[in-house]
């Protein structure tokens, strides 16, 4: 296992290095003047020249690259050209907003998707199965931004039940702000007994969470159903039933355990999707997370921010893949033996 882990970590590091290098090169190839991004297009030519020198953009590309990589390994991810703020600092500040959303969406997706998939498989051909299948097709096919807008119109505008945008109401953020401890508003408000803040934060999480969870929930439902059907058709399941084992035991202990590797893989991929899917959700709901920051960085061609987000995204993906592989090995002895 350690040998496997060492190999995977080394491969991950090499992959990360490659991604960073390619992104750096691509960012420089795209036509744009970083000095103009920094100082604004209305600046005079002499000002732009001054900033070009100040930012080191007049140095050869390889020197800029080496300088960037050196700073990166020392924890300096540079400063945003647009906001002038530390990229790492901004990412760290915004990350909890995205993680909170992703965590809740993933939880919702799993809590809904796995039981629904099991139920659909168990009641194959019946109304629940049909409902689950139609629902999963809709969930997979519907564009996430469209679903988000639809939910806003229905629940915020027409019914007035939930807020349409943001992480907290503006009144709350001014008059009774949640004390920042971790940046996870639900947790921070709970530990500081700010119940109004908790309710406010929770109400703002409902629509974006449902929006983000729709696709992975649908995918997990579908894949769980398929895996369960495959397993339920096996001889040993038939044998277990013949021997009088209870349905609950058959489904949850025998069938699900053997269907889990597929479900786990899909869940892992879904988690990766949630990271990118959150981009659209954050735009639609004006959610101040990494997705919104990334969109702004891309539209502004803000190279340091783009690089920082790429490094973060690549690291997350590689980590998730590694964890999923390790869990697979844990669940399936055959993988361990290999």
């Amino acid at each position: 296992m350690w040998h496997f882990l060492r190999r995977r970590l080394l491969a991950s590091l090499l992959t990360l290095f490659g991604i960073t290098t390619i992104t750096f090169a691509l960012a420089r190839v795209v036509p744009s003047d970083p000095a103009v991004v920094y100082i604004g297009p209305l600046a005079r030519p002499d000002e732009i020249a001054r900033v070009t020198k100040e930012l080191g953009l007049d140095r050869p590309l390889y020197k800029q690259y080496l300088s960037y990589m050196g700073d990166l390994f020392q924890g300096d991810w540079g400063r945003s050209l647009a906001s002038k703020e530390s990229v790492l600092g901004t990412i760290a500040h915004r990350l909890p907003a995205t993680l909170e959303l992703i965590f809740l969406a993933m939880t919702l997706a799993v809590v809904v998707g796995i039981p629904l998939g099991i139920y659909a498989a168990y009641r194959k051909g019946g109304a629940p199965d049909l409902g689950a299948r139609v629902g999963s097709v809709v969930g997979i096919s519907m564009p996430v931004f469209w679903l988000g807008l639809l939910l806003q119109v229905l629940f915020a505008e027409w019914l007035g039940l939930l807020p349409a945008t943001g992480r907290l109401s503006l009144e709350m953020s001014v008059l009774d702000p949640i004390t920042h401890i971790t940046g996870f508003y639900l947790f921070d408000s709970l530990v500081t007994a700010n119940w109004a803040g908790f309710r406010d934060a929770a109400s703002h999480l409902v629509l974006p969470t449902i929006t983000l969870a729709a696709y992975p929930a649908a995918l997990i439902t579908r894949m769980t159903r398929a895996a369960m059907l495959d397993v339920l058709g096996q001889d040993y399941i038939r044998t277990a039933r013949t021997f009088g084992l209870g349905e609950r035991l058959v489904l949850w202990r025998l069938a699900l355990r053997n269907a889990m590797p597929t479900t786990l893989t899909v869940s892992g991929l879904s988690l990766a999707y949630l990271v990118t899917g959150s981009f659209f959700v954050e735009i639609v709901f004006n959610w101040p997370g990494i997705g919104q920051y990334s969109t702004s960085a891309l539209l502004n061609l803000d190279y340091p921010a783009i690089m920082g987000i790429t490094v973060l995204g690549a690291t997350v993906f590689l980590f998730i893949n590694l964890v999923v592989d390790l869990l697979q090995a844990k669940l399936d002895p055959r993988i361990r033996l290999q």
Partner: protein, 529 residues
């Protein structure tokens, strides 16, 4: 059945949890807090909190935190300027010396008194390192004969009231902050400020929100109906701003999709505030690339443009067709400057005269991908040019990319560059007319790359006259604009209105001023009823 129920238990639990949780919520807007809080959705990000360097969208906040010496009044006002931090001003006969008398009893947000020295230090800093330092070009020195008098000594006559009223590069800052910024260039970036304005910066979260609080010692005083706290939610998407407004989360939406404004205007809960602005849309013809190096071809294309349709589609009707590069209401606008109207017959005749009968050539047109108005009307230009046999390849690029393409090699740049422009301060002669079409060795904003000695002479001459004889200056600028129309180095689409939508509970009278684009003056807004 029992097992089935148990299978679906987690599902039922989730649904029940959701119902319980949402049942306890009400849209916060239905239980709004103190009515002294104004909630605004805006696209205005902050590129810097340094009032000296500031030259971008953060002007929305700067204009509510800081003040200039004077304010430019909207057209039609009884006086062109009103008192800001200066109550009196005048110039010498030759226009090269301007004296401003300061308002007494004004304090900065840190308690310092406003003095002539603070004004001198602020404006010297702006001249030296300001984002808009060029506006102070006429000034050779600033002196302070006493605590409440500031004297500008100029190398040539120029109306300094225009410069002193600028929304960029003319803010007055306290000395403590100026000294700190001189020692540490990033002093302001953590969200520090030190103005005299009606609001202080209470908090700032980058890309998320800005909170301003009342400056209780503001020299202008306070009425009960004015807003004491303002929170700006930075919301880049117009449709999301609309959602926030309609769901009651905000009171003011600075940008809603223009095609939805009419619908919101019909809603009894909302009010549309509209005023002329100094923003205008224009396009450059690349005169370095054939066949656009032929003035007849450029005129032909100028006649082919569907100006009315562009105004309807691009601006949603919120604007007026431009007459040259100077927006309506800003000096030296003239209602008699000729403007092109669509005339395809004339366009075809001119093309034939130029040796391009039936068109038969193609052009690359670029517009800023971030600009939804340009995205709407660029295809109209393409369709119109097709009718005279000219093919247009429309390319949507991020502004920075479009800009770089134009600034590199003109012979390889786009043929048509669409641009949204506004003057740095209320002199579109020395700004728009000069910046956009005056020749220079290395083009800055002159992205038609035109070099017209006649035009240059007229614009330079008009600029020199402005300080002593405004009427003569206006007359010369008008000749320059006529020359510009004849040369057709560019085409002028429309002057865009400033439009925002607010809840009827907010009285927005006085919030907009054509001389201050991108700014809403919160101090002027009041709770309605």
């Amino acid at each position: 059945m029992r097992n089935t129920w148990k299978l679906s238990t987690p599902l039922v639990a989730v649904v029940a949890a959701l119902v319980i949780v949402t049942a306890g919520f009400a849209s916060p807007a239905r239980h709004s807090s103190s009515t002294a809080l104004l909630r605004v959705a805006t696209t205005a990000g902050v590129t810097t909190w340094d009032p000296i360097k500031s030259f971008s969208t953060e002007v929305l906040y700067m204009a509510n935190i800081y003040e200039p010496l004077v304010y430019a009044n909207p057209p039609g006002s009884s006086k062109p300027f009103r008192a800001g931090l200066a109550t009196n001003w005048g110039r010498s006969k030759d226009g090269k010396t301007w004296t401003f008398t300061l308002r007494q009893g004004v304090k900065f947000h840190n308690g310092e008194k406003l003095t002539a020295q603070a004004v001198k230090d602020s404006l010297d800093a702006a001249r030296k390192r300001g984002g808009a330092s060029f506006i102070w070009a006429p000034v050779t020195s600033i002196t302070t004969p006493n605590d409440y008098t500031v004297v500008f000594n100029l190398s040539y006559s120029y109306p300094m009231t225009l410069v002193a009223a600028s929304e960029n590069g003319a803010w007055i800052v306290c000395e403590e902050a100026l000294k700190a910024a001189a020692a540490d260039p990033n002093y302001f970036e953590s969200g520090k400020e030190c103005g005299t304005g009606p609001y202080t910066l209470k908090s700032y979260e980058s890309g998320k929100q800005v909170v301003l609080a009342q400056n209780k010692d503001y020299w202008g005083g306070w009425k009960n109906s004015q807003f004491k706290n303002v929170v700006f939610q930075i919301t880049p998407e117009a449709i999301v701003q609309q959602q926030a407004l309609q769901s009651g989360q905000v009171d003011v939406a600075g940008s809603v999709p223009v095609e939805n404004i009419a619908k919101l205007a019909r809603n009894p809960k909302f009010k549309v505030t509209r005023d002329a602005s100094s923003l205008n849309y224009l396009g450059f013809f690349n005169t370095k690339r054939p066949p656009l190096d032929n003035v007849l071809v450029r005129r032909a294309l100028a006649y082919a443009i569907p100006y009315k349709d562009i105004l309807t589609v691009g601006a949603g009707g919120f604007g007026t067709q431009s007459r040259s590069a100077v927006p309506k209401g800003i000096f030296p606008y003239s209602p008699t400057t000729p403007q092109y109207t669509q005339n395809l017959v004339k366009a075809k005749a001119l093309l034939a005269q130029a040796g391009h009968k039936g068109g038969g050539f193609s052009l690359d047109l670029t517009y800023a991908a971030e600009n939804s108005a340009e995205g709407r009307f660029a295809p109209l230009i393409k369709d119109a040019f097709k009718k005279i046999g000219v093919t247009v390849n429309v390319k949507s690029l991020l502004f920075n990319q479009q800009w770089k393409l134009a600034k590199d090699d003109p012979s390889k740049a786009q043929d048509i560059f669409l641009l949204l422009y506004w003057p740095t301060y209320s002199d579109a002669g020395s700004d728009n007319l000069w910046s956009l079409f005056h020749s220079s060795k290395k083009p800055f904003f002159n992205l038609s790359y035109i070099n017209s000695p006649l035009y240059d002479k007229l614009v330079d001459g008009a600029g020199e006259l402005l300080g002593t004889d405004k009427k003569a200056s206006q007359a010369m600028y008008e000749k320059a604009m006529i020359s510009l129309q004849g040369g057709a180095a560019g085409f002028f689409l429309y002057d865009a209105d400033a439009v925002f939508v607010a809840s009827k509970s907010v009285n927005t009278t006085g919030a907009l001023n054509i001389n201050y684009p991108f700014v809403q003056f919160i101090y002027a807004m009041q709770q309605a009823g």
